[in-house]
Amino acid sequence: MYEELKSKTGLDHKELFSQVKHSDTESEKIAAPRYSYWKSVFRVFFQNKVNIVILSLLLFVVALAYIYPAVTEYDPYANLLDSGAKHLSPGDAMEHFGVGLKWILGSGASGEPTFEAVWNGAKISISLAFICAAINMVIGVLLGAVWGFSKKVDMVMMEVYNIIGNVPMILIISVLSMLFSPSFWTMVLSLTIVGWLSIAYFIRTQVLIIRDREYNLASRCLGTSTIKIALKNILPFMTSVIVTLLATELPSYISYEVFLAYIGMGMSEMSLGRMIYAAEAAMVTPGWELEFWGPVAVVSIITIVLYVVGQNLGDASDPRTHM
């Protein structure tokens, strides 16, 4: 029929209609541009050129903290017996040991290169922050969701929160480091044993705010199960809140570790906090300042970069910015 028409009218196929088979499945499809949540998040995130710079700085710092100590043999007591190796300024250190990257911050109290000590400490501090944040966020978000949803749980948990929130953190830490040893894992335990509670409380408040919104009521009226409401209606709404929270949590563990070390309750590993604590006297000694300001600068860079990346990722993960 088509060939017949074509020969009769002289028109090509584009100008002639042709019949299309009807398909039920095809008619259900919506012809809108495809929207992928995470793709949009990263599109918005990378649109801002500042984010690319800061993210690469973060990757650089983390890589330095993990790779540098792994490829160099760091022994803090290698120069212990060399009396001329202690508390050297960068210039003197390079004169004493020969030019090298590891002496650009001079040497410390036992003749160790401050630069290497800083990155070793950074590795410990960053690990602590990531492990604690992972544990606290998982427990806190899950329990916080339950806490916000169930009124019975809420009653009990509010009392628990009021009581435990009043127990001084430093007391818990000192009891735990006395029971075990003041090691890395004890520190993880003491920061997570009640640390999840404040996160759970925060999530609980967020859940409370959106739990009774109209769209959730409608969803419930249509017979959606609570679990599906939690996973499909509320969790996506919370993603940006959770990412923003993570952005404040991660650097806060590093800062808190510095604080604990400074009041003498830190762990036995030479983390950045311990270094700052040990070098406090060096701050006021002329020529030794780098031993103190080195770790302080590095810890500040790490926390700022983590915070800014997290905040901007949190902003980008809010669907309202995806327009």
Binding site: I170, L171, P251, I263, M265
Partner: protein, 526 residues
């Protein structure tokens, strides 16, 4: 409203009690009690049986155990009249081994054992520790004592019942002869020579000699009928209550001419109004005998500087005020000119304060303040210079300013899209009017809630700031107590913090309810 507040207070007190119970479990059950001997020179000096009894007496002092020594028991029996003076020394003599006990000693040892074992004590008898030549070692004398771990229940009950002490004329042991017990009221305080008009109540048989008096120190009227015991300190400030440790003045002694009850006049720092009873002190000390006529000899001394709480509060309250004065307007302006230059600088500052460890920026400001502005970087109690307050106040205000800026900006921006703002704008109000008259009032409500808390917690002091600038404040008390295993102080300070938290939340709620008529805690339909 009143009923609601009473309910809240009761609930708050209950949770504070739970906090104390939790802390008691933590410090008494979980911490290793052997640690208390770590820096104890007496412990290393004693040996053998003496060391065991020393350990027990120390555990008792730190509140771990109930401990009764046999010789104390004999003294009690004599006082009770169950044992006469003649047999006293014979009964008190413990033999080197149980077989060597005299008949009378054996009888009383038997009685002691039965009495305390029935109360759940463990009675321990240590035989004399001898050298190879048969002579008793130093500290190796035979010992007998009863000991038991204090159960949590009695510990909690006795802590809370002992918290409020109401002074009464039966305080001094009834067996002690101190003359006629009673309270005397006088219009002319004898300490001022007896002719100046100054009402006072003086007690005999009470703990405090002066139960009510006037003097020239704030708050001018003083009472000692009701005193608060938050917990007795053992290592931080020996034998002194936590509350007093926090509130007693510090520094160098302030001498003034004091005429003692005996008529002795001397330059002294003693504050005779604070005299408390110390049994037998008059007989034991010639110094006291020359000055006092009774056993009320234990006085607090006048010192020149403020208390721990005082220093923390002065620094804390000024920095809080500065934080509100700076933080709120800046936050408001940041929201008003959103994405402007001020907003950008402010955001950078907020990020800096939140992200950088507090220790780092406090040291940074200390370094800048010390080298650029030539401000004193260390606190000195004896110096009259007010400049030394500057750096601690700035360091303490920095994070609060950032925090207030952050929240003020957030709340303002949240309010900016409200219907009432659109309505006001359509009514022709200028942006400045909308901001200062409408949005600001609504945005400030959540901020107002935090004001009582920030004022109350100004008292507790800041650990890092006080350490960095060597401020003799209350912030270090808890860490100090933990490091010295001073259980009484740990519990007292935590209870103090917990009560402050409860109080500041309740006050905050009352404050926002009075500021914002829409908020009501009594209506059911909330």
């Amino acid at each position: 409203m009143a009923k609601y507040i009473v309910q809240r207070i009761i609930k708050g007190i209950l949770s504070a009690v739970c906090v104390v119970i939790l802390i008691m479990i933590l410090v008494y059950s979980l911490m290793d009690r052997g640690n208390i001997f770590a820096g104890d020179s007496n412990y290393t000096k004693t040996q053998s049986n003496a060391r065991t009894t020393y350990e027990q007496s120390r555990y008792q002092a730190f509140g771990y155990v109930d401990y009764v020594n046999y010789s104390d028991y004999i003294t009690i029996l004599v006082k009770r009249g169950e044992l006469d003076e003649e047999n006293r020394s014979a009964a008190a003599l413990i033999g080197q081994t149980p077989e060597k006990d005299t008949e009378i000693a054996a009888e009383y040892i038997q009685k002691f054992t039965e009495e305390y074992e029935s109360q759940g004590y463990t009675v321990v008898r240590l035989d004399a520790d001898k050298k190879t030549n048969g002579r008793v070692k130093d500290g190796g004398q035979a010992a007998l004592f009863a000991t038991r771990d204090k159960p949590l229940y009695t510990r909690v009950v006795s802590y809370f019942t002992g918290m409020f002490f109401i002074d009464n004329i039966h305080y001094v042991d009834e067996g002690t002869d101190i003359g006629e017990r009673g309270l005397t009221f006088t219009f002319y305080d004898p300490l001022y020579g007896g002719d100046k008009f100054s009402p006072a109540i003086i007690g005999n048989g009470t703990k405090h000699k002066y139960l009510f008096y006037f003097d020239g120190k704030f708050p001018y009227i003083h009472q000692n009928f009701l005193t608060l015991n938050l917990g007795e300190s053992y290592t931080v400030n020996r034998g002194v209550d936590v509350f007093e440790t926090m509130t007693a003045s510090q520094g160098t002694y302030v001498l003034s001419t004091v005429s003692y009850p005996t008529g002795h006049v001397e330059q002294s720092a003693d504050d005779l109004h604070t005299a408390t009873y110390a049994e037998g002190s008059l007989e034991q000390s010639e110094i006291y005998a020359a000055r006092f006529t009774d056993d009320y000899t234990n006085t607090i001394t006048h010192k020149g500087s403020m208390s721990k709480l005082g220093y923390s509060f002065v620094i804390g309250i000024i920095s809080t005020i500065i934080a509100y004065i700076l933080g709120l307007p800046i936050g408001l302006l940041m929201a008003r000119f959103k994405n402007g230059i001020l907003d950008k600088i402010g955001t950078v500052y907020i990020v800096f304060i939140i992200a950088v460890p507090s220790l780092a920026y406090i040291f940074l400001f200390k370094a800048i303040g010390g080298s650029v502005f030539k401000l004193p970087t260390l606190f000195n109690m004896d110096s009259s210079s007010k400049l030394m307050y500057v750096l601690p106040i700035i360091s303490l205000a920095l994070p609060s300013v950032a925090n207030l800026m952050k929240w003020m900006r957030r709340y303002m921006i949240d309010q900016m899209n409200s219907d009432y703002v659109k309505f006001a704008r359509s009514g022709g109000l200028s942006e400045t009017e909308i901001f200062t008259k409408h949005i600001w009032k609504n945005a400030a409500i959540p901020i107002v809630h935090g004001i009582p808390g920030s004022i109350l917690f100004a008292m507790t002091g800041a650990i890092i700031t006080e350490r960095v600038y060597l401020v003799p404040g209350a912030g270090n008390l808890l860490t100090q107590a933990i490091n010295k295993y001073d259980n009484g102080v740990i519990i007292g300070v935590t209870l103090f913090y917990a009560l402050l938290t409860v109080l500041s939340i309740i006050l905050g709620d009352i404050l926002i309810a009075s500021v914002d008529p829409r908020i009501s805690f009594t209506s059911k339909g909330r």
